[in-house]
C-alpha cells in the first residue's frame, strides 16, 4: 500500500507529518476553545437568568 518514495522519503513524509500536525493542532485548539467558551457562556447566561428572576 505504501508508495515507494525513494531517497526523498524523509522530505515527503516529514512534510506531511508537520503539515498535518500543525493544521490538526490548529483545528483541535479551535474546537477546544469553541467548546470551552460555549460552556462558560451557557453558565453565565444561566446565572443571568437566575439573577433576573430573583
Amino acid at each position: 500500500m505504501m508508495p515507494e518514495l525513494g531517497k526523498y522519503a524523509f522530505a515527503v513524509l516529514s512534510s506531511y507529518a508537520v503539515s498535518l500536525g500543525l493544521i490538526g493542532g490548529l483545528v483541535a485548539l479551535s474546537v477546544w476553545r469553541y467548546a470551552r467558551v460555549k460552556r462558560a457562556l451557557t453558565a453565565a447566561e444561566a446565572r443571568l437568568a437566575k439573577g433576573k428572576r430573583a
Binding site: V12, Y16, S19, L22, I23, R33, V37
Partner: protein
C-alpha cells in the same frame, strides 16, 4: 434581505450553526480525497522524484496564507467603514489560521528545498515574502493580544491591517527586486514553479485547494462564533461586576 443582516452576531451564530454541518464534511472529504490521491496514487516526477507529492500541501497552504490576509483586509475595511463587530472578530479569528498556513508553506518549502536546492533555506523571493508575511501575522496577532479594550483593539488592528497590506505589497516587489540583483540567471528557482503541471497532478491538487478553502471557511466561522461568545461573556461579567 440584505447581506448585512449576517453582521448581527445572533444571526451570524445561528447561520453558522446551520452552515457548519455542511461545510465541515465537505472540507474533510475534499482534503482526504485530494491528499490520499496525491500521496498514494500520483507518479513520481521525472526531475523531482517523489518530492512532487509535497506540492499538494505546499501550494494550497501558500494560497491560503495570502488569501487569509486578503480576507482579513476586507473584514478590517468593513469594520472601519461600517462598524460591524462581527467583521472585526472575523478578522481576528482568521489571523491564527492564516499564520498556520504560512508556517506550513514555509516548512514544506524548506523540506522540499533541501533535496532540490541542496539547502534548507534559500532566500528565494517567494520564500522570503512568506517569511515577511509571517512577521506581519505575528505583529497583527500580538497587537490584538496586547490591547485590553476589545473595540480599541479592533480599531488599532484594523488600521494596522490596512497599512500593513500596503507595505506587504511593497515588500513583495522589493524582495523580487532585491533577489533579482543577486541571482540574475539562477535556474534552480524555476524547479519550484508548478507549471507546466502534469495532468496527473492536476485533479488531486484541485481537490486539495477546494478542501483547504472549505476548511478555512469552517475554521473562521467556528473561531468567529467563539469570539462573539467571548464578547458576550465579557459583557455579562462586566455587568455582574457593575451591579
Amino acid at each position: 434581505m440584505s447581506l448585512w443582516e449576517y453582521a448581527n452576531p445572533k444571526k451570524f451564530t445561528e447561520t453558522t450553526a446551520r452552515v457548519l454541518p455542511v461545510v465541515v464534511p465537505l472540507a474533510g472529504a475534499c482534503l482526504l480525497a485530494g491528499l490520499i490521491w496525491g500521496f498514494f496514487f500520483t507518479p513520481e516526477d521525472y526531475k523531482q522524484g517523489s518530492t512532487v507529492k509535497i506540492l499538494f500541501l505546499h501550494v494550497p497552504a501558500a494560497m491560503m496564507a495570502v488569501n487569509a490576509w486578503i480576507m482579513m483586509l476586507v473584514a478590517s475595511l468593513v469594520w472601519i467603514v461600517r462598524r460591524h463587530h462581527v467583521s472585526a472578530l472575523a478578522a481576528k479569528a482568521a489571523a491564527p489560521v492564516g499564520m498556520t498556513f504560512t508556517l506550513v508553506a514555509l516548512v514544506t518549502g524548506a523540506l522540499w528545498g533541501q533535496p532540490m536546492w541542496g539547502t534548507w533555506w534559500e532566500w528565494d523571493p517567494r520564500l522570503t515574502s512568506f517569511l515577511i508575511l509571517f512577521l506581519f501575522y505575528l505583529g497583527y496577532i500580538a497587537l490584538w493580544q496586547a490591547v485590553e479594550n476589545p473595540d480599541t483593539a479592533a480599531d488599532l488592528t484594523g488600521v494596522l491591517c490596512v497599512v500593513g497590506s500596503v507595505f506587504a505589497v511593497l515588500s513583495r516587489y522589493a524582495v523580487k527586486f532585491w533577489n533579482q540583483g543577486l541571482h540574475q540567471d539562477s535556474t534552480i528557482m524555476k524547479v519550484g514553479e508548478k507549471d507546466p503541471l502534469d495532468p496527473a497532478y492536476y485533479w488531486p491538487l484541485i481537490f486539495c485547494l477546494a478542501g483547504v478553502v472549505l476548511m478555512f471557511v469552517a475554521l473562521v466561522l467556528l473561531r468567529t462564533v467563539t469570539e462573539i461568545r467571548l464578547r458576550r461573556l465579557a459583557v455579562i461579567e462586566a455587568r455582574e461586576k457593575f451591579e
